[in-house]
């Protein structure tokens, strides 16, 4: 199985084998971060541009650390302080970055499909770091990697995703990835935060948190993005906590070794209680560590594929 894509835009397009290749490659990269010299020369001389149209600390830092541990040079562009303010289009920005002879653009954008649009207009690699409500593939990959590390497999697992499914690219990418690998996915949220026809993605839907937890091997708790509630459809924070938060009391009724995940940043006392966030079932900080290995694997694979394509063009 060889990786042939110059871009990583989402998990929807990937085959099971491609997802598994990223995961096994990440396993090998994980060990690099445990060494005294946390660096390998695999992407020496390559330039990675983090192009972020939305505020983000953890994803950007994770990509930056990943690129630096591969010896790539990293440039961060936050659009609030760039020419985007002057009205430059996404495609123009991308072409300018390409003209700087960068090799990979890591893009975060508030519009669904932005990474795909960019990838069609530049020849360099594009990695989607979250586009609107569409996909956040590396977050799902690191969730799945962590789950596999904890439980030894993905196939046959029951995984519940709890929270704002409607506005969550993390949920969508997780659903694509988990179902492709053979897990059974349940989504749980108040009715107004469950998107129409979500069942067509092959998931079970429930509005009852105890039901979602009862047979789950893992629960992925999404952040309630109250700051994005422009349509004013969200329940109040306290109401949400009462009906949907993961608490110790609710976990008592779940499987003893249930894995509790959260993509961060946590709203303590909203999606989950502090006791759960810091408790024995929580793997939240391991997710952060694994995120580096997964992003190293993705950067490495797309850079490799790009170089291969280029050699081909030269030969042709």
């Amino acid at each position: 199985m060889a990786w042939t894509r110059k871009d990583l835009l989402g998990l929807e397009d990937l085959s099971r084998e491609e997802i598994e290749l990223i995961l096994t490659t990440a396993e090998s990269f994980k060990q690099v971060s445990t060494r005294e010299i946390k660096k390998v020369p695999a992407l020496r001389g390559k330039t990675v541009v983090n192009l972020f149209y939305e505020p983000s600390t953890r994803t950007r830092v994770s990509f930056e650390v990943a690129a630096k541990r591969l010896s790539a040079d990293v440039i961060n562009i936050a659009t609030e302080t760039s020419s985007v303010k002057k009205g430059e289009t996404l495609v123009d920005t991308g072409r300018n970055i390409e003209a700087l002879k960068a090799d990979i653009i890591v893009i975060r954008h508030n519009a669904s499909g932005a990474a795909a649009v960019l990838s069609r207009h530049v020849n360099i690699s594009v990695v989607n770091a979250g586009d609107g409500w569409h996909e956040h593939p590396t977050q799902a990959l690191l969730d799945i990697f962590t789950l596999k590390e904890k439980l030894g497999k993905i196939s046959g697992l029951n995984v519940s995703i709890v929270g704002d499914i409607a506005h969550s690219r993390v949920a969508r990418s997780n659903i694509w990835g988990l179902t492709k690998l053979g897990a059974k996915v349940t989504v749980c949220a108040p009715k107004m935060l469950i998107p129409v026809a979500i069942e067509q993605m092959g998931v079970r839907v429930t509005e009852n948190i105890d039901d979602a937890l009862s047979c789950a091997d893992a629960v992925n708790v999404l952040r309630m993005q109250f700051e994005r509630d422009e349509e004013n459809v969200f329940p109040k924070q306290l109401e949400y906590f009462k009906n949907f938060a993961i608490t110790e009391e609710r976990l008592k009724k779940a499987k003893k070794n249930i894995v509790v995940m959260h993509p961060g940043p946590i709203n303590r006392g909203v999606e989950m209680s502090s006791e759960v966030a810091d408790g024995a079932n929580s793997v939240i900080l391991e997710q952060v560590t694994n995120g580096i290995a997964v992003r190293m694997a993705v950067l490495f694979l797309v850079a490799q594929a790009k170089d291969k394509l280029k050699n081909h063009e030269d030969i042709d």
Binding site: T25, E27, S28, V32, R35, Q304, K310
Partner: protein, 179 residues
């Protein structure tokens, strides 16, 4: 690919390894601070066998590590098949150890160059030595092996294939001609 000649069979291959084990012990004056590191893929099995022979001779188990050099190669973009990145598994501190790198075939020397870079990123050994089953010549870098199972002069349009029981089902070294 056409097989031209068998250069080592099971007995001669294992005798060569046994001799190399003795030479390693002679040069290092025993097993103190001695460790072996096999380069993936076949170097790993050769390193384990050398450690077994050294164990038979000295009644001491010396540590054996596994080195994956994929991320350190200088020809990543040139090789046709995309290499799979495997784990490096060295669970002992290599600092101040005498490390014997083990590989199956020494050819251009570029694998060993990558292995040296990979190794010094993990610590600062007292010395790094090189043991190979076959030295086939045609070096492109100033690298040589302290311990050689068999020197085999080859032409560049030939390939030397090392087969080991652990992966290939038999022990032999054959020379094949590229077509």
């Amino acid at each position: 690919m056409k097989e031209k000649a068998k250069l080592l069979d099971k007995d001669t291959l294992n005798r060569s390894l046994m001799r190399v084990a003795h030479e390693i012990l002679e040069k290092n004056k025993g097993t103190k601070d001695l460790s072996l590191v096999g380069i993936r893929n076949r170097g790993v099995y050769l390193a384990k066998r050398l450690a077994d022979y050294i164990g038979q001779i000295e009644k001491v188990r010396i540590p054996v590590g596994i080195l994956d050099i994929t991320l350190y190669r200088d020809d990543l973009t040139l090789i046709a098949a995309q290499p799979v990145v495997h784990k490096t598994e060295i669970d002992f501190d290599i600092t101040d150890k005498n490390i014997v790198l083990v590989d199956d075939v020494l050819y251009t020397g570029r694998t060993i160059r990558a292995a040296l870079d990979a190794l010094v990123d993990l610590g600062r050994p007292k010395s790094i030595q090189l043991a190979v089953l076959v030295d086939r010549g045609h070096r492109e870098l100033p690298i040589r092996a302290e311990y050689v199972g068999k020197n085999i002069p080859t032409s560049q349009n030939e390939t030397v294939e090392v087969h080991l029981v652990e992966v290939d089902g038999s022990d032999e070294v054959v020379i094949v001609e590229k077509e």
